[in-house]
Symmetry: C2
Subunit: 206 residues, 2 copies
């Protein structure tokens, strides 16, 4: 089987196993792609969306909005060719020397400082956060301080400490969001969500 | 909380929730790190190991064995600084122009050809496969043809088609393996397994 056939068959199996469980058509392909990426049907239940989140995110991507990630892994997982088709680029500042220095000096995480750098240098962007709850808290602080208006926060860090709470805070912030409620998520999930939006945009064009 | 404190507390929570469920001490930290990476306790049940797999993998890493991945995402997730401490490097050939050309000409996947290139150019290596079952089948073919003797196959692709079967084939091949039986896995899981081995090696040195 060719890769495209395998993907098609995978989505059919997911549909079969979802059975009677229905998904809002706006988020249908997105939820299925996350399940495809993780083989974990929990994402049927835990993915939460602000009003018309998929539409809002696609409008931003279509306008060439940059995508900021908290890890190089999430950045590696995003389909850069698909993103570039609409003029967008990925950015991840976690490995930057100035970020590391500042984090050390202030006694905070590099994730936190990397979000501040993104807000300062890029302006409005889509934030795809798959790892660090401190990145989500940093976004909250920046928004509350009037220093950032994210086009979309994809809040899907994974973990056992501060993760559940950070996601709830994002959903109360008044910004557009796509969040995996609870402990689950990951860099792979963050990338899958961005890719799903891009693939749907390309499919509609073709 | 500092990142190291968060990690420590996370591992305590995982231990609490595992409760009476015991893990072979050789694999204890590895299994916990995969659960830490995914927030998914299914990995307690699905991770399978050939005889002394952790010991075998650590010996290879200590000798500076290269680590080959099937995706740039798995490569991005591996702690390169920790690996370099023992002389090792990561390699991923999936994006190489010659791999793409050959895959197209032969009508096979780039994953398959990238494994052949790894076998040809690197020789014995640790293979960390988190995405493509065709990479696992390629490794099987190479081993059976006498063209490859992997030091370790970390076989944790995720998915719904050919994935379950490919993992079973790897476990019957007679090579050292760490496999997540069933559908689950991912590039993040592949990277977490490599990192767990490296962190244990470093901890023992310190």
């Amino acid at each position: 089987m060719k890769p495209m056939e395998i993907e098609k068959r995978s989505f059919e199996i997911i549909a079969e196993e979802l059975g009677e469980r229905k998904i809002d058509p706006e988020y249908d392909l997105l939820v299925r792609r996350v399940i495809h990426t993780t083989a974990d049907f929990d994402y049927y239940d835990n993915l939460c969306f602000s009003e018309h989140a998929a539409k809002v995110a696609m409008e931003a991507l279509r306008a060439g909005c940059p995508v900021v990630t908290d890890t190089t892994m999430a950045m590696a997982g995003i389909n850069k060719r698909a993103l570039a088709r609409f003029g967008g680029e990925t950015h991840c500042f976690i490995g930057d020397a100035d970020v590391a220095e500042e984090a050390k000096a202030r006694g905070v995480t590099r994730s936190l400082v990397s979000m501040e750098k993104a807000a300062r240098t890029l302006g409005p962007a889509i934030f795809a956060i798959g790892n660090a709850p401190t990145a989500l808290y940093s976004i909250c602080d920046l928004v509350r301080a009037g220093k950032l208006q994210p086009k979309m926060v994809i809040g899907v860090p994974v973990g056992f400490v501060n993760v559940v709470e950070a996601k709830e805070v994002i959903m109360e912030l008044g910004v557009p969001y796509i969040v995996a409620r609870g402990r689950k998520g990951g860099s792979n999930v963050a990338a899958a969500i961005v890719n799903s939006l891009l693939y749907q945009m390309i499919q509609r064009e073709e």
